[in-house]
């Protein structure tokens, strides 16, 4: 009896397996004859991936059809690592959608095709782009990538939390109807808006520097930098950098490092409805323009205070912001600079050894067309990489505060990460250093001194290797 049951169960497992092997679905792969198929690997999955796939579809239906090119959109996790391995293996994708960090890293590794000649041919030039964006596409004097979407970082705040605590804020001498304008104000807002339960656990916080994605780049709001591209010197020990991380540390000491660690454990993922900004655990956040999309998709009521989204465009333009429970402003600068911001871009590049660079560039150039870029950027709820934007782009943008991010991206005080060949290492080391700071394991000044020494060594070693390579080539 037992044996029969066993056999039956086994059969139930094996028969479907064989059926699946024999008749199961196969990878669909059809290219019309005479067409060149391009593999386009991109980081975006979820809604952003679907939106990009829509743009790819547009291309395939228009320019692609005309020039016999089919672009195949593939979204994947850890795209930068995969692109690198595939390039090293000699089977790279045709188009790689990475971040600006890879422009210098891959450029330094000689893993990307320079695009200068093709760009010239297609009339793509520096003057058309916001300066910070173009800078991020260039490494060592060569153009290695072009932007798909850019972003600047601003301060988001929850107006509802501000209103709810208006009396307390006023008592502290703060205006509940606007964002903090200096770091000192930010601290004071944050203190008023931080709450604990009876047992002393934090239940809501005003602002947490350690929760920011951009805590690696705080220096740009303190008027400093990490590396000087002209002199090749690291600037980590700059007193302004020390001040920035002393500021991070002040939050850990003020709130208690263990309390903060425990509080942060209760956060859901960024793109979930449990994002702490959406669950109102977190009154202020340092974020990019895409947040508008996430807020609308995951917690629509924060974007529909007065009327449903569809009716919002019938409101007078000035009244639009009253439809939102949140708002955005420039993140205050400790150096008193106007509109200081960190910017980063999503890039399109052609890996070294890709088989159809010209056709690939056709697609990249298509994305650079003002109308295409505006369509993509408004779908993603981002600003445009181009200097000129159409009126309709700003007016009809899903993000009601897009002008803030637009202003930040165009600002003279906007900075991207420097074109440092060892940037990946620096970022990893910075992350550890900052963890040490907010766990009170590292003194900012001492830590930055050590970091500076380490990064100098890394960079010197890189230069040393390059020199050896050049000598060998001769």
């Amino acid at each position: 009896m037992k044996k029969i049951i066993r056999t039956i169960i086994l059969a139930c497992l094996i028969i479907p397996a064989i059926a699946l092997l024999a008749f199961g679905p196969r990878a669909k792969h059809e290219v019309p004859p005479g067409f060149v198929e391009l593999q386009y690997w991109e980081k975006w999955s979820g809604p952003e991936g679907i939106q990009m796939a829509e743009i790819v579809d547009d291309f395939n239906k228009t320019v692609g059809k005309e020039k016999h090119i089919v672009v195949d959109y593939m979204s994947m996790t850890e795209v930068n690592r995969k692109v690198l391995i595939a390039t090293a293996a000699g089977v790279p994708p045709d188009i790689a959608g990475c971040w600006d960090g890879q422009t210098s890293q891959f450029g330094a590794l000689d893993a990307l095709e320079p695009l200068d000649d093709l760009a010239r041919e297609y009339g793509i030039k520096k003057e058309d782009y916001k300066p910070v964006v173009w800078d991020l596409c260039v490494y060592n004097g060569k153009l290695y990538s072009l932007p798909s979407t850019p972003a600047s970082v601003a301060l988001l705040y929850n107006k509802r939390i501000f209103w709810r605590n208006a009396d307390k804020l006023r008592a502290a001498g703060l205006d509940p109807c606007r964002a903090p304008q200096t770091i000192d104000e930010l601290d004071r807002y944050s203190d008023v808006l931080t709450f604990r339960d009876a047992a002393g656990h934090i239940t809501q916080s005003g602002f947490l520097p350690m929760e920011s994605w951009y805590v690696n780049y705080l220096c740009y709001w303190w008027g400093a930098g990490v590396w000087d591209r002209n002199t090749g010197k690291f600037l980590l020990t700059d007193p302004r950098n020390v001040a920035a991380y002393e500021w991070v540390k002040s939050y850990a000491t003020r709130l208690g490092k263990d309390s903060v660690a425990e509080f942060r454990q209760g956060f859901g993922g960024f793109n979930s409805a449990q994002n702490p900004f959406l669950t109102e655990k977190y009154a202020m956040s340092q974020q990019g323009p895409w947040m508008a999309n996430y807020i609308y998709n995951l917690k629509p009521e924060m974007s529909e205070v007065l009327v449903p989204k569809q009716l919002e465009y019938f409101l007078p333009h000035v009244a639009r912001e009253f439809n939102y429970a949140w708002a955005a402003a420039a993140f205050p600068s400790a150096a008193g600079e106007k509109d200081a911001a960190f910017c980063s871009i999503d890039t399109l590049a052609i890996p070294r050894g890709a088989k159809h660079p010209r056709e690939s560039f056709e697609f990249i150039a298509y994305i650079q067309r003002p109308e295409v870029m505006e369509k993509l950027c408004s779908l993603h709820c981002k600003t445009s990489a181009l200097k000129k934007t159409s009126d309709a782009f700003i007016r009809n943008h899903m993000n009601p505060y897009i002008d803030v991010w637009e202003r930040l991206l165009a600002s003279p005080n906007a900075h991207g990460s420097p074109p440092l060949p060892t940037m990946a290492q620096l970022n990893a080391d910075l992350k550890v250093f900052i963890e040490g700071v907010y766990l009170l394991k590292v003194d900012p000044k001492k830590g930055l001194e050590d970091l500076q020494k380490r990064e100098e060594e890394q960079y010197a070693r890189y230069n040393d290797r390059q020199k050896a390579r050049l000598a060998e080539a001769k």
Partner: protein
């Protein structure tokens, strides 16, 4: 193998003698073959609760709604139940469940066939044919188990590229790198099978040899049928390893339509930590279920299969 004698070093004493001497000193309780079964049950139950708690959570989460997943305090039995999560997983746009299952099955089948075939042939060679250099080769084979995967990963990758460039067969971008190695045997399985073949008396093969049977004939007609339980163990081990392999597909498979199940699970975890817990857990349950059933059915054969091979040096 049933007698206990000749301990390997002079320092150690034969255990039985030890016991005898100790027993003289102690008056011991008598008449109990086994420790208290109740106690054993109790201990095992406690351990099993600890071992199974994460699974209960897994299943419970797979039946929750998004809101319930993050509720504080968490609930064990979700209300309402969401069995449709499973349907959502199977039809998920990001994870093509049937396709990934098929991919996994293709690789697993090839690996199982390859491993069983090659490992048994090699194991027979190591166990039954006395040739010069056998000891050295066997030691060499065992020592390959010690090599960290990282040493081999990228050079192997480069090797497949080189093979693709210099032979008409393309390796990278296909499933080949994931199963081709199986046809060259794996050290662990060869070791396992060799131990098994060692227990088969030589008289059997001698008799066949006198009858004019070739070595390959002896292997195929006499040894393989005898080795069926051990081969089943090797097949199962291989199947489970391939089913759950993550690093191999991660390195070699680039196109999402080639993904295996274990790799596909990662699509539920997003870059910024926003994980669709309920779907991830539902998918995990689906991936896990077949091999759990398989193991439950086979566990006795499994253990006896390893036991008869005698995992002894």
């Amino acid at each position: 193998m049933t007698t206990l004698e000749a301990p390997t070093t002079s320092r150690s004493q034969a255990p039985s003698r030890l016991i005898a001497s100790r027993a003289k000193r102690k008056t011991a309780r008598k008449g109990r073959r086994q420790s208290n079964p109740f106690l054993i049950h109790l201990t095992l139950l406690c351990v099993c609760v600890l071992f199974i708690a994460p699974f209960v959570w897994m299943v419970s989460t797979s039946l929750k709604t998004v809101d319930q997943v993050m509720r504080d305090p968490p609930v064990l039995i979700p209300k309402p139940m969401m069995p449709e999560n499973y349907w959502k997983v199977i039809t998920h746009p990001k994870m093509d469940f049937p396709l990934f299952t098929r991919n996994t099955l293709i690789i697993a089948t090839l690996c199982v066939i390859g491993t069983v075939l090659s490992s048994s042939i090699v194991a027979y060679g190591f166990a039954k044919i006395r040739f010069r250099g056998r000891g050295v080769l066997f030691a060499l084979m065992l020592s390959t188990m010690m090599i960290p995967g990282a040493v081999l990963m990228v050079p192997q990758f480069a090797l497949f590229r080189w093979l693709g460039d210099h032979t008409p067969i393309q390796f990278l971008g296909t499933f080949k790198p994931l199963w081709i190695g199986a046809f060259f045997g794996s050290a662990f399985n060869i070791f396992l099978l060799r131990q098994f073949f060692m227990t088969i008396p030589d008289e059997l093969s001698e008799a066949a040899r006198i009858d004019g049977c070739s070595e390959l004939g002896i292997f195929a007609r006499i040894m393989l049928p005898l080795a069926r339980p051990a081969l089943a163990v090797v097949a199962l081990f291989t199947f489970m390893a391939v089913w759950n392999d993550f690093l191999g597909p991660l390195v070699y498979l680039q196109r999402p339509d080639q993904y295996t199940l274990a790799l596909g699970l990662q699509t539920f975890q997003s870059q910024h930590g926003g994980t669709e817990w309920q779907l991830l857990m539902a998918a995990s349950v689906l991936v896990l279920a077949p091999i759990v059933i398989l193991f439950f059915l086979a566990q006795r054969t499994f253990i006896q299969g390893i036991a008869t091979t005698g995992m002894k040096g």
